[in-house]
């Protein structure tokens, strides 16, 4: 099993550009999450999903969009990149709400 995979590993964006961060899990988990981690800070929840077709906002959803058309994939979309979105983005999944989350390796994003 690959677990949770994220692509790309690193990306530089110009202000105003858009991009999609990809996240795929092969564990058939219902729950998936997107977090961002700023330097020296903890993880902040951006969006989460409790199953295909169902998504909800976390703590810091502004500037992002998500979709969940399949159990495996949970892409995160940035429409108009801003320097404040420079961060490391982690995707995670869990089989149920009560169980712990498995994290991907992260995507490092730099917006200049």
């Amino acid at each position: 099993n690959a677990g949770v995979t994220q692509t790309p590993k690193f990306r530089i964006l110009k202000i105003g550009q858009s991009m999609t961060l990809q996240c795929t899990q092969d564990m058939n988990h219902n729950y998936m999450y997107w977090y961002r981690q700023d330097p020296g800070m903890g993880l902040k929840l951006i969006y989460y999903s409790v199953g295909a077709g169902i998504t909800d906002k976390g703590e810091v959803p502004n500037g992002y969009n998500v979709s969940r058309s399949t159990t495996e994939d949970f892409p995160l979309r940035l429409e108009l990149a801003a320097p404040s979105q420079t961060s490391v983005y982690f995707c995670a999944s869990s089989p149920t709400v009560a169980e712990t989350q498995y994290f991907g390796p992260g995507t490092r994003l730099l917006v200049l």
Binding site: Y31, G40, M41, L45, E59, V97, A98, T100, F103, G106
Partner: protein
């Protein structure tokens, strides 16, 4: 208002000694607590958890203590090993909830 706080950004201990990492929370509704470990350039990995019905949970060298009245939990690592050097995140949530709130992390360095 930060609901989960790890007041020590860093901790350095000698190999073989005890490491104690602390975490405080403000939301008395939290009833499930987790510790994650993170190495550089990797995603966090689950370490140990505790529910509010317990005051202690052990797993090998790792023990988590919960003091509900003080809204405080701690992670003890005995004996500490150089491979334990990492960032440790405390997280809290409702046991029925899907959203975890993370602290800012404590960087543990274990010196040989």
């Amino acid at each position: 208002d930060q609901q989960v706080k790890q007041n020590s950004p860093s901790l350095s201990v000698q190999e073989g000694r005890i490491s104690i990492l602390n975490c405080d929370y403000t939301n008395s509704m939290f009833d499930y607590f987790l510790w994650y470990k993170k190495y550089p350039a990797e995603g966090p990995t689950f370490l140990i958890s505790i529910s509010s019905i317990k005051d202690k949970n052990e797993d090998g060298r790792f023990t988590v203590f919960l003091n509900k009245s003080a809204k405080h939990l701690s992670l003890h690592i005995v004996p500490s090993q150089p491979g334990d050097s990492a960032v440790y995140f405390c997280a809290a949530r409702l046991i029925s909830g899907s959203k975890s709130t993370f602290g800012d992390g404590t960087t543990l360095t274990v010196k040989p």
